[in-house]
């Protein structure tokens, strides 16, 4: 059960403004990127689809049971909204091959070591891996994703991360540990799709 998401949905139903902001800030960027990746980088289309997804989700938020995560639930709605978008436009959905949706994912992931190095011939797969990593980050709690980005992309020391999160350095280290574990689990789950 995804108790935190369920609690968020309940607070939204009760009219809690803070809950709405948390829901939107967590969901919209992830959904927008999710749609962009599947709509040939059509930014206007992705915006429309992400908005339609959130509007539909809000009208059905009372039916959210927390059996899947909120973002997984939203992504299911988003896929349907993308289909509707292309139906309205009278054109077929682009056949974007996404790494998490094709059987070859395992092979691609097996080459991660090479991709993490300086192999210049792996640009295309690197792009796909990039999307997978970003999707994994989107599915983590905000603090986890932020902490990982600060640590490994911005190169911030633990004490600076602690300051940004209003934590003690020890608590920040502990949070980073949990964040890495959550990333590992999330990445492996996508790998298993």
């Amino acid at each position: 059960m995804h108790d935190r998401d369920l609690d968020l949905a309940r607070r939204m139903l009760a009219g809690d403004e803070e809950a709405f902001n948390e829901f939107f800030d967590r969901s919209f960027p992830a959904l927008y990127r999710f749609a962009m990746a599947r709509m040939n980088q059509d930014a206007d289309g992705a915006e429309e689809v992400a908005q339609a997804t959130l509007v539909k989700a809000i009208s059905r938020i009372g039916t959210f049971r927390g059996e899947a995560s909120l973002l997984t639930w939203l992504c299911t709605i988003c896929r349907r909204e993308m289909s509707r978008f292309y139906e309205r436009a009278g054109r077929g959905r682009p056949t974007t091959e996404l790494i998490e949706e094709v059987p070859e994912i395992r092979a691609a992931l097996e080459s991660l070591s090479a991709l993490a190095g300086d192999d210049p011939g792996a640009a295309l797969r690197r792009k796909e891996i990039m999307r997978l990593v970003h999707m994994t980050l989107d599915r983590l709690p905000d603090r986890y994703a932020d902490a990982l980005e600060w640590k490994y992309i911005e190169g911030l020391p633990v004490r600076s991360i602690a300051a940004r999160l209003a934590l003690t350095p020890k608590a920040a280290e502990s949070l980073l540990t949990r964040a890495r574990e959550a990333f590992r689990d999330g990445f492996a789950a996508l790998n298993a799709v």
Partner: protein, 340 residues
């Protein structure tokens, strides 16, 4: 990687993706691309409007359920009275268009109303019906009317608001005039929006758009837009000015049936909002006006208020609005620009 990272690491042979690989992956892929601020702002406004409408609607449904559960005797009494007033044999003269907190639950949206039927609202209920002639008639709280025919309604108590244009610009009446009968005389519309209210022994008519004529034994009277006329129980007449938007018409907004916007142009939507609220539509530029005629809308504003509908629709079209006196001003959304 620092010492603390090494300390956190689990046994290498038990994990498929090591901490070093996570670090490498993140460095390789870089930060997640940010969503442009203008897109976030537009979508946030639209989604928030829908959320507020949803929360407000839920609150109303919960109130209704509580009232029904706690006051069953009252509910039954209202239901019996309502049923007796219904005239099932009469030809259909109207349909229920919208309801606000109908406590008795004896009317449903879309239900046909036979001619000769009485419709009543309670102290918390409002109701909108559409006559077969196409006119929209809205009943305020504590109101009783008899639907006499497809173009005539008798006001027995309370207040009604009549819109000869109706909520849907594609369903305008085909040139038929509506008549509201009152104890003080019959009121005929002349292409208009107006309210008729019975206050003790007096009858008051307020005109928002167009004009109405009142036929009474003491002689006919005409009331123009922005004016009100009150006929006392002794037949005396008093007239005065009334604003065409704002507080006097607030109750009408609450029961206004929302427009079905799917496939309609933004211009049609804005014309409808302007008319419903008694506001004159004004664009901040000719380009905006042209865009509004070209943009086709998708989705639904069911359950929203007018403000929520504007807040929901306009940002998606990169536009905003403000009320300036009697004008609904449409302007470019602050900071709107195409970005990806």
């Amino acid at each position: 990687m620092n010492t603390s990272d090494r300390d956190d690491r689990t046994t290498p042979d038990l994990q498929e993706i090591s901490d070093e690989k996570i670090a490498g992956l993140l460095r390789l892929t870089g930060p997640r691309p940010a969503v442009p601020a203008d897109r976030t702002s537009r979508v946030r406004a639209a989604v928030r409007a829908r959320w507020r409408a949803e929360v407000a609607g839920r609150s109303k449904r919960q109130t209704l359920w509580t009232v029904a559960a706690l006051a069953a005797a009252v509910t039954v009494a209202v239901a019996v009275g309502f049923t007796r007033a219904w005239r099932p044999g009469g030809p259909p003269a109207a349909g229920i268009a919208a309801l606000v907190e109908v406590g008795s639950a004896t009317a449903r949206k879309g239900e046909a109303v036979p001619s000769g039927s009485d419709l009543m609202t309670g102290t918390r209920d409002r109701l909108a019906i559409r006559l077969s002639s196409g006119h929209s008639v809205r009943l305020d709280v504590d109101t009783r009317v008899r639907v006499l025919s497809r173009r005539a309604v008798a006001l027995l108590s309370g207040a009604v608001y009549v819109d000869s244009g109706g909520p849907d610009p594609l369903q305008e009446p085909g040139g038929e005039s509506i008549e509201i009968r009152t104890p003080a005389g019959a009121i005929h519309e002349m292409g208009t929006q107006f309210e008729v209210r019975i206050i003790d022994a007096a009858v008051r008519v307020r005109v928002r758009e167009g004009a109405v004529s009142m036929n009474r034994p003491a002689g006919g009277l005409e009331v123009q837009a922005g004016r009100e006329l009150e006929i006392g129980g002794d037949g005396s007449a008093r007239s005065g000015d009334v604003p065409i938007s704002g507080a006097p018409w607030a109750w009408v907004d609450e029961v206004a049936p929302m427009m079905a916007i799917e496939g309609r142009t933004l211009r049609e939507f804005l014309d409808w909002v302007g008319r419903e609220r008694g506001l004159v539509l004004r664009f901040a530029g000719a380009e905006l006006a042209a865009s509004a005629s070209a943009i086709r809308l998708s989705g639904s504003i069911d359950g929203m208020t007018f403000d929520q509908a504007l807040d929901s629709v306009l940002p998606t079209c990169r536009m905003g609005h403000r009320i300036e006196g009697d004008h609904l001003v449409i302007e470019p959304l602050a900071g709107a620009e195409t970005s990806s």
